[in-house]
């Protein structure tokens, strides 16, 4: 066979391959359609679901209404104690001026006698 014959043979094989181009098998077509339908319905459901508001998502993140009410109660208590501190609580604000560590420890109710003995 000459090179021209080889080329002709190859072109014939290509032509045959184009003619015999495979059809989509029926079961594969069904699988593809099922995938398409599943994707389409999934998208429709996603769009149909109402969008949650920004505040709803924040509320979920802190444990819902129960979490929010606990957080609110703790905050109010903190503010109250800040303004109307009971006498039994140490004056922590006054401690910031202290230069001696023993004062801080003593004010918090610890035994500081060992600190005094070393001085």
């Amino acid at each position: 066979m000459t090179m021209a014959d080889d080329d002709m043979e190859l072109e014939n094989l290509f032509a045959q391959a184009r003619k015999d181009r495979s059809e989509l098998p029926d079961d594969l077509a069904v699988r593809i359609q099922t995938d398409a339908e599943t994707t389409r319905l999934g998208r429709l459901v996603k769009h149909a679901r109402p969008e949650r508001s920004h505040w709803s998502r924040i509320l979920d993140n802190i444990g819902g209404w129960q979490g929010f009410s606990g957080l609110a109660a703790a905050s109010v208590t903190g503010v109250f104690i800040g303004f109307f501190a009971p006498a039994v609580l140490p004056d922590t604000a006054g401690l910031f001026g202290a230069t001696d560590g023993s004062v801080l420890a003593a004010d918090l109710g610890f035994d500081t006698s060992f600190l005094e003995s070393t001085e």
Binding site: D7, L10, L28, T39
Partner: protein, 204 residues
């Protein structure tokens, strides 16, 4: 390969879709919830995807898996598709070829094309072997080409894409595609000539 990107007639809401709409228009309609658009796209693009996969992998089961996977990616990508940026078919060919390459890389020994039914008559064994060999000759030869050459030859000579389209699919220049197809054809001729001598039907 026809890909009409726009059509004046709006068929959405009519409960049916027209076969002559472009691929990207159909994809938009599918993204908007039109099931009929998916059926037309499957009929139009599915066979091309399957044909290329079969030629690239030489195995029906694998070609079916790749086709389903590639089409699934098409459905998922539909809402993000920007019309006019590229042809849907070009995108799908590219995805299909990449999936085929992934499969080939994962597979250790090279699988040859599926065997034909064994001959049932001892008297015609040689004749049937020759028929089968002729039938599978192209596929066997294709499987011996390097991946890039095989892709270029299949897209050019079996799928009948133009060189610029192949360049778009493979991410190459047109010159590189021409070079790949030319080298691929020369290699195929040499493989087929060697095979003819082996099987003894050089004269006929």
């Amino acid at each position: 390969m026809e890909d009409l990107t726009s059509h004046p007639q709006d068929v959405r809401g009519a409960g049916c879709v027209a076969d002559d709409l472009g691929d990207d228009r159909l994809l938009r309609m599918f993204a908007d919830g039109d099931a009929g658009a998916a059926r037309i796209l499957t009929d139009r693009l599915g066979p091309r995807c399957y044909s290329v996969s079969l030629r690239m992998l030489g195995n029906r089961a694998e070609a079916e898996d790749v086709t389903q996977d590639a089409m699934m990616r098409l459905w998922q990508m539909a809402p993000k598709w920007v019309p006019g940026t590229a042809k849907v078919s070009t995108w799908l060919y590219r995805v299909t070829l990449n999936l085929c390459l992934d499969r080939k890389r994962k597979k250790t020994p090279e699988q040859l094309p599926e065997e034909a039914e064994p001959p049932d008559n001892a008297a015609s064994v040689v004749e049937k072997m020759q028929d089968t060999a002729r039938h599978d000759a192209l596929q066997v030869a294709l499987m011996q080409l390097p991946d890039r050459q095989r892709q270029a030859v299949v897209l050019r000579h079996i799928e009948e894409l133009s060189n610029p389209e192949i360049a778009g699919v493979m991410g190459l220049s047109v010159e590189a595609v021409e070079s790949l197809t030319a080298r691929g054809k020369r290699a195929l001729s040499a493989i087929l000539a060697g095979r003819r001598e082996e099987l003894g039907y050089d004269d006929g």
